[in-house]
């Protein structure tokens, strides 16, 4: 079996794909830790609270060609998202989950040996820990081996979002193994020193890094470790985001595209998708998720938008309303998440991951074509492999919003007309439905891939 390209760090085992499912191989060297995880009640306790992914042990491990060790079949996660696509509160919940699991493990004489957000996925509206092999037996007197990693992988992005700008968390895609403390310190404002926790966990850490280890390293204690985890928990709990208003906040309520347009479009979208068959959907440029939320609870929906505030609000509203089939992600379609890591194969690009039965591109094409200069033919090429059905809105040049986009620039978009749009898209799709949205010049299309 070939390990997954991202599964090379830990010699306790690895993840691999087999006949469409993801499996986890457990090396005999990890056996003692695995036995305690399962035998101490820790696994059940975490499972009961939906904190850890469930798994079953595969009886016939020989069919995979292993001569020793065991194989687990974990509960399958339908969509893999990466931390640099999360919004502030998603990061915060993931950090708190890591600390909660570390504290729960300590009660059962175990500890997390690593603390990376790649060990967490969002499933059913909540973060869930997916790395079953991260638990190891706690040796009395040892400090937390993953403390520094926790600071670089969770505290750093959270603090950048708090002190600088929510979008600065994207720096994590440049440093997926953790944002180095010296880089973080150079970006944080000087006043951040006056927060005791930021001073201790960040500024002091940056100063102390590189010091040789003292000879005796077992003078730490479980009580001190509990205190450290408790301290980190209350610190992370108190990190909050300054509210900044963006163009896309209250987009529908504040603009001329008020109630009439929204109601007409809502009706039309509902009618268009009522008789097509799909189980998964992607909402590109989802804004506050108004249209993603129209889809039934039985559909798995990914809602992406470049605007951090919209996605964060959507995540918080999902938490409140328990609309758990929706996964909101921050993603700028003009500069989407790339493939990163070792040999560019560790983490897939978001374009490679976004596949669904229904793709919604509502009031989006004019942004890509006019604000982003992407030709219509390239947009059709990009949407085509993404899904079988396409719900797309065309906003012509006569529209107020497009006029605004063209206000301060030369109109070089001769090929941006309803006729061109239809000609280009019908080469790749069959138009099933087509209708004007309310009293506007905007047209909504439902298309099926040829």
């Amino acid at each position: 079996m070939t390990p997954h390209p991202a599964s090379y760090r830990d010699n306790s085992g690895f993840v691999f794909r087999y006949e469409g499912n993801v499996y986890r191989y457990v090396h005999p060297a990890y056996e003692a830790h695995y036995t305690r995880l399962m035998g101490s009640g820790l696994y059940e306790a975490l499972l009961k609270k939906n904190r850890l992914v469930a798994h079953e042990e595969v009886k016939d491990a020989a069919k995979f060609g292993f001569t020793n060790g065991s194989v687990l079949l974990p509960q399958q996660i339908p969509f893999i998202s990466y931390p640099y696509e999360w919004s502030f509160d998603m990061w915060k919940d993931a950090a708190l989950l890591t600390l909660e699991i570390a504290a729960a493990s300590l009660k059962k004489q175990m500890i997390l040996k690593d603390a990376t957000p790649f060990n967490i996925q969002f499933y059913n509206g909540k973060p869930i820990f997916i790395d079953t092999l991260s638990f190891e037996n706690y040796e009395e007197g040892k400090p937390w081996v993953a403390y520094r990693q926790f600071c670089e992988c969770f505290l750093a992005p959270l603090l950048l979002m708090q002190y600088c700008h929510p979008d600065t968390a994207k720096l994590f895609s440049v440093y997926p193994n953790g944002i180095p403390m010296d880089v973080l310190v150079s970006l944080l404002p000087k006043r951040s020193r006056w927060n005791m926790n930021t001073f201790l966990h960040v500024h002091l850490q940056a100063k102390l890094s590189g010091r040789q280890k003292p000879a005796a390293e077992n003078k730490f204690s479980r009580q001190k470790l509990e205190l450290l985890l408790k301290g980190l928990q209350s610190y992370v709990q108190n990190i909050s985001l300054k509210k900044t208003k963006t163009t896309w906040d209250n987009y529908y309520t504040d603009t001329i595209l008020g109630d009439d347009y929204l109601q007409a479009k809502t009706k039309l979208v509902t009618a268009f998708i009522s008789d097509i068959q799909y189980t998964t959907a992607i909402d590109l440029g989802a804004n506050d998720g108004h249209f993603s939320l129209l889809l039934g609870n039985d559909k798995t929906v990914i809602a992406t938008d470049a605007d951090h505030n919209c996605i964060n609000e959507l995540y918080l509203s999902i938490k409140r309303t328990n609309k758990v089939n929706l996964l909101p992600l921050v993603n700028n379609l003009l500069t989407p998440s790339p493939a990163i890591g070792w040999a560019n194969t560790e983490r897939e690009s978001i374009t490679a991951r976004l596949k669904a039965g229904l793709v919604m591109a509502l009031a989006l094409v004019h942004h890509l074509a006019i604000a982003g200069n992407v030709p219509l033919a390239l947009i059709a090429d990009w949407l085509h492999p993404m899904g079988e059905y396409l719900l797309v809105e065309f906003v012509p040049k006569s529209d107020e919003k497009v006029k605004l986009l063209l206000q301060h620039r030369k109109d070089i978009f001769d090929g941006y007309t309803p006729e061109d749009f239809k000609a280009i898209f019908t080469a790749k799709y069959t138009i099933l439905k087509e209708q004007q949205v309310g009293h506007t010049n905007r047209v909504l299309f439902l298309m099926k891939r040829k």
Partner: protein, 61 residues
């Protein structure tokens, strides 16, 4: 000089730091608890222990 550090385990330094933080937090939690018991003495309310609350939450969920 910077490259010299590349040969040192990146986790080094964090042990000393964890000792310092545990000590600082120990002192601050001590004073917090002390303050809570002073408050509890004057208000007459019993100080609910954090751990008891957690246990309750565990069983409730």
């Amino acid at each position: 000089m910077h490259f010299f550090f590349l040969y040192i385990d990146p986790g080094s330094g964090s042990y000393i730091l964890q000792m310092i933080i545990a000590a600082v937090l120990g002192v601050s939690f001590f004073f917090k608890n002390f303050w809570l018991s002073v408050k509890a003495f004057f208000t007459g309310k019993k100080k609910a222990k954090q751990e008891d609350k957690e246990e309750e939450k565990d069983t409730a969920e």
